[in-house]
């Protein structure tokens, strides 16, 4: 299972992509990630209502080939999406890359 978070906008206007694959994680971290993915509703939320708000795309590619995706603006994350995005973006596990 590969989880990808794209965050764009903000005052910096940068696109940040963070990606994590559960195959690369130790067992506790993989379990945490699975728990967060299971708790996340993959539906789109409203785009950011403010200039310089962040925009997000969260996608999960499962090993069976299925893909789930959610796009939403800052402050409009669907249930569970904020926690999953934060875990991937801010945690120590993801590979991060700047740019479109």
């Amino acid at each position: 299972m590969r989880v990808t978070v794209v965050r764009s906008g903000g005052v910096a206007g940068m696109v940040l992509t963070a990606e994590v694959d559960d195959a690369d994680l130790d067992t506790p971290a993989a379990a945490e990630l699975t728990g967060l993915v299971d708790a996340c509703e993959f539906v789109d939320g409203a785009p950011s209502a403010v200039a310089d708000g962040f925009g997000y795309e969260l996608s999960v590619a499962r090993d069976d080939g299925s893909v789930a995706r959610a796009r939403f603006g800052q402050g409009a994350a669907p249930p569970g999406a904020g926690a999953l995005a934060a875990w991937v973006l801010d945690g120590p596990h993801a590979r991060r890359r700047m740019g479109r």
Partner: protein, 374 residues
Amino acid sequence: MSSGTLTVVNRCRCTIAPPSLLLAVAEQGDAETRDAALRTLLTSVALRSRRSSFGPTLRRFGLSPADLDFLPAQAPDTGPENTVYDVAGGEEQALPGRLVRGTTDPPTGDAAVDEAFDGAAATADFYREEFDRDSVDDRGLDLVSSVHFGQRYDNAFWTGDQMVYGDGGGGVFVPGGLTRAIDVIAHELTHGVTQFSAELEYRGQSGALNESFSDVFGILVKHRAEGIDAASANWLIGEDILEPSLGGALRNMIAPGTAYAGDDQPADMDAYVDLPADDDPRNDNGGVHINSGIPNRAFAEAARALGGDAWETLGPVWYEVLTGGELSRFADFEDCAALTVAVAGERYGGGSVEQDAVRGGWEAVKVRLRPDPR
């Protein structure tokens, strides 16, 4: 968040009786009451810096604006309230948080609080002193800032009625970086000014103009606060607040695309990045933070050619274009270019060095100059 919930400071806006009531007293009371009411009325007028608009009322009492000169030239507390809140790691639903510094309070020692306070004050002072604008909305909107938003949050933004600052430290900004840069603070507050004036749609070229006006007034607030000359300025937005591994600044107005590794701002229309304004976050609402490099550079080239204090040379031209009512909310770069050239001509004369500089700025970025749209 309404100012009514704050500790009431004894300020003109809260304590003056309605002008209509004072007028009635001034007209009907005995001599002593009349004098008191009139004096209060005149004081309120002076404090609100609206002498000119009060001409008809003054004339009813046989007075002229010059008769107000007995009042202190610089009345205290003429600006809006300036308050800072600590949202203590909370997010949108927790705003604004706990009040930690009011208008007349001394510094708190929390750098984020004090920098947000000072940045809001400097920006409001800039707009009032340079353009006679009464706060963000030109109607005295109180300045509200919330700091310590979220966890290591790498953003600062204007919500539509207040400022919000994360702490940074999330991999993009250095910790504390988002309140440290006065141009970033002024950039965000200028989104508020645009909201209450041209209302530029935040997509495509009108969105890039929205971004660019924020950078232009952001840098002008910084230039004015630090006495920077347009000829020698480095034109960097958000200098030294990014993680050093990323780069030195958020944007470079004179050399777009060179601020940080991966900066993809175009320097002219030949390199315009045509992105759809869709829900894909990679497309940045049609490149609002990308193509803003083009009008940014047009301004910077023009201001650099003129040299001196850009907030006094071209600041008023860009301000008139943003707030004068002629720039459509769907304006594109050519609309904006034509208006800046026209306004520069009105202000400085057709063929003036200022108008030539503005024209040269747009030519440098290869935006086609149409004849005066009016």
